[in-house]
């Protein structure tokens, strides 16, 4: 029994900033001070505040140390763990007040959050099944198997109003109901952990921080629809998640929580892992199942829907990681509890991955219906460097941009669709006045062109042509006619593509055309990029009044495009300038600007 627990974040963010080494040093220091019987070190999943990693929390005081360095460890051990003196200079500065250290749950970042799917992330050791059981884990599975019929389980989900968190928002209970209704000798439960949207990492965090919740929910799903086999399709680029899932499956089998005759009820359920090679299209349900079957990951037309003919032509349900993470809590706390959170048509909470131009990059979980303003300003801490908010991108390459005028719209599935974006898996990329919206649209199109599987023409050729038009505009060669043609092509691709990838690929273009048409027109008519991003439309110039002739820029320029004599104003030769911006960064007098 330990008097103090030191939780070190072992999520991908903190691991890449050195938390594993920190953990090792910490254990060494604890041993050196003879505290190994009193203090335990626990490796957890993500705490959400990735911007401040590596993160370390010391309980029972719940002291939150952020951006911990290895050389700080001896001080933390001898001061805090031995003598009980908090090392204030290393504590997350928002928790330091005149009256002492305030609780983490009182900080702006955590105070507005409501953690359901992430409830164990950063709290338990994901590699120890007993810690999961200690927080009530596997109790929902026990309840379902001993007290509920499959129909009651499905009814509970229907009553809770849970909708798929992978993006489309299909009611989870309904999906299960369809699969249960189809009789077959074998059915399957699949978990979609092929998180592919650039900037989205909530599923990875759940898998890394609380893998057992996914296993438990899949077993519940298996019982509800009558399946005895499950598959988790996870991308191989998530090595920590894969390793923890392997450990979790192994432990669940050892404890008899997966396998034959679970809880002595005669219910069998097993789970296998399948690693994806990182193709975006494999996040689409039919392509994912084709890939599990060992074939090339390409989508096929629906119907038949997976609930009738899915994996290996058998009835199958496919749920996203975050969706599954909600289910044991719904079973234990009841559907009314879940339905009491959120808006009329979107119940519960949603996890968002905050990224881009925002102070607190990381993971947040808020009730549905929270406004963008609350997420970005209150929790996210606003935009750095006093810049102005321009737009937020949700839904990745399938979604769109939400402009400042919709800052106060409550976020839920239907509201986002009506303003031309979508929930998607929950990536939220914040953009400020330095982001060019045409360039953003081009970035996402470049992604979909790369990731289109090529099976259907509208997507394979359509996205490529769309990309070429955007490219033309960013180079200042577009015409107003191109804008109309682009819109027409967007609708054509949406209407005719085979799967979700193509059907949503034009969304970034359509939404930026809708809200930021003036920026497109500036590129086309004035041949200017207002945000100063599109290189072809920029020129770097030296202000002769400010230039002291120090020659630093001329020496910095990689292409010898700057000419001038010492102590005389220099000039940039536009024909040679490659617009790398190196001179502007180096100039000490602020004499160089881009126009």
């Amino acid at each position: 029994m330990y008097r103090s627990h030191v939780l070190v974040c072992g999520g991908t963010g903190c691991t890449s900033s050195g938390s594993m080494q920190i953990m090792k040093t910490l254990q060494e220091e604890i041993d050196k001070n003879g505290l190994h019987d009193e203090v335990c070190v626990v490796q957890t999943g993500c705490h959400g505040l990735c911007a401040l990693g590596p993160i370390m929390i010391i309980y029972p005081e719940a002291t939150f140390y952020s951006m911990v360095k290895q050389e700080d460890i001896p001080e933390i051990v001898s001061e805090h763990l031995l003598k009980g003196r908090v090392v204030t200079r290393l504590v997350y500065n928002e928790t330091v007040t005149d009256e002492g250290i305030k609780s983490l749950s009182d900080t702006e970042f955590y105070k507005h959050q409501h953690r359901v799917a992430l409830r164990n992330c950063g709290v338990i050791d994901p590699e120890n099944i007993e810690e999961y059981i200690g927080t009530g884990g596997y109790e929902a599975l026990g309840k379902v198997l001993t007290e509920m019929t499959p129909d009651q389980v499905i009814q509970t989900l229907l009553d809770s109003g849970l909708r798929g968190r992978g993006g489309a928002g299909f009611p989870t209970g309904l999906k299960w109901k369809f699969a249960k209704a189809n009789d077959a000798d074998q059915k399957y439960v699949c978990c979609n952990a092929d998180e592919g949207d650039p900037g989205a990492f909530m599923d990875r965090s759940v898998l890394e921080g609380d893998p057992h919740v996914v296993l438990e929910a899949m077993a519940i799903a298996g019982y509800a629809i009558g399946a005895s086999q499950g598959y988790i399709y996870v991308r191989a680029e998530y090595p920590i998640a894969v390793a923890r899932l392997e450990i979790a499956i192994q432990q669940a089998k050892e404890y008899g929580l997966l396998g034959k005759d679970i809880f002595g009820t005669g219910f069998d359920f097993d789970i296998g892992l399948r690693l994806g090679a990182g193709a975006f299209v494999c996040g689409e349900e039919t392509a994912l199942m084709t890939s599990i079957e060992g074939k090339r990951g390409e989508p096929r037309p629906r119907p038949p829907f997976p609930a009738l003919k899915g994996l290996f032509q058998k009835p199958t349900i496919l749920n996203n990681v975050e969706t599954l993470a909600n289910i044991p809590q719904i079973i234990l706390n009841g559907p009314e509890w879940f339905a009491s959170m959120g808006t009329e048509k979107s119940k519960g909470t949603k996890v968002f991955a905050l990224g881009g131009k925002i102070h607190n990059t990381g993971l947040v979980e808020v009730p549905m219906g929270t406004t963008l303003r609350q997420v970005i300003e209150d929790i996210g801490g606003g935009i750095p460097n006093g810049k102005k908010f321009k737009a937020a991108q949700t839904g990745g390459p399938s979604g769109g941009c939400i402009p400042a005028e919709h800052f106060d719209v409550p976020i839920d599935y239907d509201n986002l669709i009506s303003i031309g974006s979508m929930m998607g898996s929950g990536g939220l990329i914040v953009m400020d006045e330095d982001n060019c919206m045409v360039d953003i649209a081009k970035f996402f199109l470049e992604f979909t062109v790369d990731e289109s599987c090529g099976k259907c023409t509208p997507c394979r050729i359509g996205t490529k042509r769309l990309y070429e038009m955007l490219d033309k505009i960013t180079k200042g060669k577009g015409t107003l006619e191109d804008l109309d043609k682009m819109e027409e092509l967007c609708y054509y691709i949406k209407e005719n593509s085979l799967c979700g990838l193509g059907q949503t690929a034009p969304n970034p273009v359509l939404s930026t055309l809708r809200y930021f048409r003036d920026e497109y027109i500036a590129h086309v008519v004035d041949k200017k990029c207002p945000a100063g991003v599109c290189k072809a439309l920029l020129s770097y110039v030296i202000d002769a009044d400010k230039c002291r002739g120090c020659t630093l820029c001329a020496r910095t320029c990689p292409n010898n495009a700057i000419e001038g004599k010492v102590k005389e104003p220099h000039i940039i030769r536009q024909d040679k300038c490659i617009k790398c911006g190196a001179c502007m960064e180096k100039c000490r007098f602020g004499a160089i600007s881009k126009k």
Partner: protein
């Protein structure tokens, strides 16, 4: 594992451990002075005894933590019990046995053991 009872037994066993990581404004805080003076007069076994007793007795509303020197070195080891909405109680010259009494009498039953508090010890002299 074949029964729900076995699952609940593991949960019971682990509850004290994961319960330590909950945050609650209504917690009772038990603070042990762990500066050089405290450690020298035996605060560490006191701290460990308190922490273990609180976890085995599943007192989820109680947090056992340390603090530095509070300036009364001659009375160490010092244990302070801070309950929300109540006056702080300061126990002095503690040892593991006395600490267990504090857990059973004060933390569980709510009776302050006045003979161990600073008021009675200081007034003896």
């Amino acid at each position: 594992m074949k029964t729900l009872e076995e699952l609940r037994a593991i949960r019971e066993k682990m509850q004290g451990r994961v319960g330590m990581r909950a945050e609650d404004a209504n917690q009772t805080r038990v603070v042990v002075g762990m500066a050089t003076c405290g450690i020298a007069s035996g605060a560490r076994p006191v701290l460990n005894t308190l922490s273990e007793a609180v976890q085995t007795r599943k007192l989820e509303h109680v947090v056992v933590t340390q603090t530095g020197c509070i300036g009364l070195c001659q009375y160490e080891p010092i244990v302070e019990v801070i309950e929300p909405g109540k006056e702080k109680v300061t126990y002095v010259k503690m040892n593991p046995e006395k600490a267990l009494e504090v857990v059973d009498q004060h933390l569980i039953r709510g009776h302050v053991i006045s003979e161990y508090t600073i008021n009675s010890v200081a007034s003896d002299k």
